[in-house]
Symmetry: C2
Subunit: 238 residues, 2 copies
């Protein structure tokens, strides 16, 4: 029997090239949406509701009991929201038994573009092993979808795609140069991921806001090992 296929999409602007309807799509936005989502759910959030606009986020915040609104535009807390997009904000004390309503520049937008996917799950270094295990067990075609930065290729999402491929490669058929490149880059980065990533546009951008601590956090492997799926408009632990 032939193996399922694995591919990598480097930018939301390239999504039309892939058959998402028949694939599990792994949404990847390492700095920081998918790292924040992973953290909030591991710390006890009931669910995370991704929204594609600040106004919708605020509106849902008013409607949903026991919820928090959070998000950013261009790396900074968006006006009118209660919290930003820093994973370190969402401690157990803050988020347990609450619903997080989140909107970000890249990650939540990509998620909305992928609504036609067969399944959507969330990928971050924080839950790398859980993602890989789920993909192997599902035996479906996979698209590793990088949120990128405003549609431009970015290094940190690519490295995560390479990390996933490294761990699942024995179980998938692959003929995709994006996946090959991601894997080759990850092989260079793996021994010192956080140092490697410091020479990337997004790191340099977020460093200006003093967010190095956040990014170091996002580079930890398997700190929160849950599978997170998108179901009925909500992200929840599997």
């Amino acid at each position: 029997m032939s193996q399922p296929k694995i591919e990598t999409c480097f930018s939301p602007s390239l999504l039309h090239l892939y058959d998402i309807k028949n694939s599990i799509v792994v949404i990847i936005d390492i700095f920081r949406a998918t790292s924040t989502i992973t953290t909030a759910l591991d710390n006890g959030a009931i669910s995370v509701i991704p929204t594609d606009s600040v106004s919708h986020c605020i509106e849902l915040g008013k409607q949903i009991h026991n919820s928090l609104t959070a998000g950013e535009r261009d790396g900074k807390i968006a006006d009118g929201l209660q919290h930003g997009n820093s994973p370190s904000e969402f401690t157990k004390e803050l988020i347990e038994n609450k619903t997080l309503i989140l909107t970000t520049t890249n990650g939540t937008r990509l998620l909305h573009q992928c609504k036609e996917a067969n399944e959507i799950i969330i990928g971050s270094f924080l839950n790398l092993s859980a993602v890989c295990k789920y993909l192997i067990e599902s035996k479906k075609d996979v698209l590793l979808a990088c949120a990128s930065w405003k549609d431009r290729f970015n290094l940190e999402d690519t490295l995560f795609a390479g990390a996933v491929y490294k761990h699942v490669q024995a179980h998938f058929e692959m003929n995709c140069d994006s996946t090959r490149a991601a894997h080759l880059l990850y092989r260079q980065a793996e021994p010192h991921l956080y140092e490697f990533i410091q020479d990337s546009s997004h790191f340099l951008r977020l460093s200006k806001y003093g967010l190095q601590f956040d990014m170091e956090y996002c580079c930890q492997v398997d700190k929160h090992n849950n599978t997170i799926v998108y179901k009925d408009g909500k992200l929840v632990k599997k």
Copy 2:
């Protein structure tokens, strides 16, 4: 004085993200359009006219005295054209003092999408040093534009972008993850470029047509060291 900027675009579908009007755009289609163009001009072609359709190619072939039509679709000679897109076809004996009218799946299409650029030049490993020298001397912003394969990221065009960046980096400002990734990948590939590239989608695709010889040819560095510019609808040696 600040240095000019250098960026890399991995796919024609991402071109809208870049300011091509104020940049020199280097068109990169290693397998095989830009390698064929470089070879034909070095072997004495008067000019190469890139066209975006097979029918237009045939029509121009009838109008222009002493011309040859050539091109491919999906890696094979397109119906109605006299020659394919193999650089080895365009020997001095065949092409000297003739006009080559060329249409290809990716490379000539990208060129037509970049017509608004400040300048357009052609990049291949065959004329790597000439390209780098021209970019350094021009002191303008540069976009390394990969033709890719039907808008999907490809390895060989990316490696060429990385090779250019390696040689010009002291003269440009760079804050572009695509360029960083291309450079990191080229550093891995450089000691054995042809072997490295054999694990790429395009190599595997063209190998099915027995075109390994072509691809080995396209990986030679500085065999035809001319700068090739696009001027008044034609590609000519500078």
